[in-house]
């Protein structure tokens, strides 16, 4: 089963623990400037939104790469950048419509989220469950449940229901 990061901006407080966890996982230091996930603050609306790569099924970054340095991990669906192949041309950073592939001037390669090979550090670090890691085919589960609860509220349990003849 493939899994995906599910982000609920309504729960985010803007603490950036996810950015620190990401940079530490990848570079062994706390450095939000090199994080693959970023939290955006919309101050005047009082909103905070974590944002990162969604691992497109047909990834524009992958298709744009002239040296085939981005491959798909069949089991997880993750788009992986191979540092030994990446030449730092940055074409993928232009191709990605979401801006989630970025150049790292320290290494001369591009970086993007790889879901930490199944154990996303950002998800583990999030103190409010604004970032969770769920079945990729059921990422709407929590929202559906919330709306289902809303339609259930106000209705009494109906008791045993007899079948209806059609």
């Amino acid at each position: 089963m493939q899994k995906a990061l599910v982000i609920d901006p309504g729960k985010c407080t803007g603490c950036k623990q996810c950015e620190m966890a990401c940079s530490y996982e990848k570079d062994n230091e706390f450095n939000v400037a090199k994080s693959r996930i970023r939290v955006f603050e919309f101050h005047e609306d009082g909103k905070f939104v974590p944002y990162t790569c969604t691992q497109c099924a047909e990834a524009w970054c992958q298709q744009a790469c002239p040296v085939n340095a981005i491959t798909t991990d069949a089991a997880s669906g993750v788009k992986l950048v191979h540092d030994n192949l990446c030449v730092g041309c940055k074409v993928c950073t232009i191709a990605c419509p979401f801006g989630t592939v970025n150049y790292n001037s320290t290494t001369g390669k591009v970086i993007k989220c790889d879901l930490c090979f199944g154990e996303p550090a950002c998800e583990a670090a999030c103190p409010t469950d604004a970032i969770t890691y769920q079945d990729i085919d059921q990422t709407g589960f929590d929202k559906m449940k919330m709306w289902a609860k809303q339609s259930a509220d106000g209705a009494e349990p109906s008791g045993p229901n007899p079948p209806v003849a059609h």
């Binding site: 950036k16 530490y24 230091e29 400037a33």
Partner: protein
């Protein structure tokens, strides 16, 4: 590790930028941030220096945990000699600025001299530049933040700035970073203004490494779990913010009201955390929009509020209709209960202006309260105030006062002196609710006795953040003591003062100590940096810092006589509530406190004490 071991020294008179190694020997003795920067400051300035002269210096300092994944690890402090008090000033701020500065590869910034013309500073990793600030001088913090980011085409910058109040040296001006977090107290913003420095913009890509990563991650994860499971840090603060205290302190009969004439406020519910959560009668919307964390904080006590667009304070002023930093308990109290004003929307607007213009809402509110009492007694009249009817309870008057004081115009110039200078000018210094020139925060020491000793002995003037014995006396953390008793309070105050000095030097927020003890903190510090940090060693460092700050103040001219409270708290009994009939028993606590500190009966640290602590 935990450190870059690099200091940036900028002489604004000469326009020079120098890089120095961090004194690691001192880092062993003073840990970081508050302690370490105070050591630098005291080593470099004359204690008698005029705080607003070019000879005063100011230091922006981080701790070893700043810029790490330790919960709340984003703090920085501004250390200087304060113009409100003439004592050492150390104001701590959250937001994102401190961590970003550390990410730029620096541990500390020392500012000297005075720029010939207004300037602002940009620090982009190793690239450090001073720029002409003539286009933003005379504008607000909020405008400056936007202008610099636009000018440098860098929305990822974090900016600490002063508003017009700081430029004009309003004595309780704050330095505001990230629009609504502040190094708030003691007038550090006025010192920045006196140096012709408008703002410091930082951006960093260097990262912060720690000594022992695996141990560090374990220690910080353990710490976060403790915070999440604690009722105050896991529930109370994120849900209600520090405003969770409003009703609690009011019921305890320790909420200063109308310049401390009363100790309970009849309108407290209307300005409380609960009121911020309730739909307004006027438009059905809530004042509180959401909570916000500072960098790395897993508590998230910050308030983000929106003002009713039809409220008189913002009517036809759409520039204030957006969300921004809302009321913390201290601001709600100082602007509300202490002025007798129960209009939540007005207080939120006044708080916005304090952030926008860079003013400490505690000292501002308390100064307005003192002015209201002078007005009530007929010592101030509309002739002095420029027509403002400065009555207790008047939201209209408060709104006019904040607009004038933020720009230091008209009667705002008088209010900008702070309550002691104002009350002295109008012949009643006894009505100034201050210690060493700094206004009280939100706890009346007749109802919480330990806070009287806390205020009297605080090294930066009246302050709750030097030893928050409210924790013990009201909340029962770490154990409950009787708020009305003086017995045991000297030892309690000393222990809180020393522990807090250590916490303030580590790079984390003192609010963690509702749940954490030094037993939780020391392992995080020890995994981050060299030094063999244990709880005992942190207490020892805290005591060293306390005595060092004390010695600076004594050399600046303070004596034991300044460890005092205004006569109202010592001789006018509380009128209502659990503390009815009581005054603060400072004289019962102070001699024992001096003794526990190893100071003489006059409050002077003995040579023995100083050499024991290697101050």
């Amino acid at each position: 590790m935990g450190w870059h071991r690099k200091i940036l020294r900028i002489n604004l008179s000469k326009g020079t930028v120098d890089v120095e190694p961090l004194n690691m020997e001192w880092a062993q003795q003073y840990l970081g941030q508050r302690g370490l920067a105070s050591k630098y400051l005291i080593n470099e300035i004359d204690p008698k220096v005029d705080p607003l002269s070019p000879d005063n210096k100011m230091i922006f300092a981080t701790g070893p945990l700043t810029g790490t994944a330790a919960s709340t690890g984003g703090r920085y402090s501004v250390i200087t000699k304060g113009p409100l008090t003439n004592a050492i000033a150390c104001s701590n701020s959250g937001g994102y600025w401190g961590a970003e500065f550390k990410f730029a590869g620096w541990d500390m910034l020392i500012l000297e001299g005075k720029a010939e013309k207004p300037v602002y500073l940009t620090i982009m990793d190793d690239k450090v530049e001073l720029h002409d600030a003539s286009e933003i001088w005379g504008t607000t913090v909020w405008h400056t933040d936007d202008w610099i980011k636009t000018k440098h085409q860098d929305p990822m910058m974090h900016i600490a700035a002063i508003g017009v109040s700081g430029e004009k040296e309003v004595l309780y001006s704050a330095i505001v970073n990230d629009l609504h977090r502040a190094a708030g107290r003691s007038g550090v913003g006025a010192v920045m203004g006196s140096k012709n420095l408008k703002a410091i913009a930082v951006r960093g890509t260097q990262g912060v490494a720690v000594k022992d990563g695996k141990t560090f991650l374990k220690a910080t994860m353990d710490g976060k779990k403790v915070l999440a499971e604690n009722a105050v840090t896991g529930q109370g603060l994120p849900t209600y913010g520090t405003q969770v205290l409003m009703n609690v302190i009011n019921e305890a009969g320790a909420m200063p009201t109308r310049n401390h004439r009363d100790v309970q406020f009849e309108g407290s519910h209307d300005i409380s955390a609960e009121a911020m959560h309730e739909p307004r009668k006027t438009d059905g919307k809530k004042n509180l929009l959401t909570n916000q964390a500072c960098f790395g904080c897993t508590i998230a006590c910050g308030r983000i509020s929106k003002i009713d667009e039809n409220h008189f304070s913002v009517k036809n002023k759409p520039e204030y209709w957006h969300a921004s930093g809302g009321l913390e308990y201290e601001a709600a109290w100082a602007l509300g209960s202490n002025t007798g004003i129960d209009d939540l929307e007005a207080l939120t607007y006044v708080n916005f202006i304090c952030n926008e213009q860079g003013m400490d809402p505690i000292s501002f509110g308390a100064t307005v309260s003192a002015a209201m009492e002078l007005y009530d007694l007929g010592l101030l009249t509309t002739e002095h105030t420029g027509g403002i009817e400065l009555k207790f309870g008047s939201a209209e008057a408060l709104v006019k006062c904040v607009e004038l004081t933020g720009k230091a115009e008209g009667f705002g110039k008088e209010l900008g002196m702070g309550s002691l200078r104002l009350c002295t000018k109008y012949g009643r210094p006894d009505l100034s609710m201050t210690v060493k020139g700094q206004e009280f925060p939100a706890y009346d020491s007749r109802g919480i006795q330990g806070m009287g000793l806390t205020y009297a002995t605080s090294n930066r003037g009246a302050c709750h953040l030097r030893s928050y014995t409210v924790s013990s006396e009201i909340l029962g953390i770490p154990e409950k003591t009787d708020p009305l008793a003086t017995e045991g309070k000297p030892a309690l105050v000393k222990a809180f003062q020393d522990a807090t000095a250590a916490v303030d030097s580590a790079g984390i927020c003192v609010f963690t100590t509702f749940a954490w003890t030094l037993e939780d903190i020391a392992p995080q510090v020890d995994a981050a940096c060299e030094g063999g940090w244990t709880p005992d060693r942190m207490m020892e460092v805290g005591e060293r810092i306390w005595n060092m700050e004390r010695m600076f103040n004594m050399q600046a001219g303070f004596t034991g006589k300044d460890d005092n409270l205004p006569p109202r708290l010592l001789s006018e009994p509380a009128k209502t509530g659990p503390a009815e009939g009581r005054v603060n028993g400072l004289e019962k606590m102070l001699p024992e406190y001096y003794q526990l500190r190893g100071w003489t009966a006059d409050g002077v640290p003995t040579n023995e004490t100083l050499s024991r602590l290697a101050v």
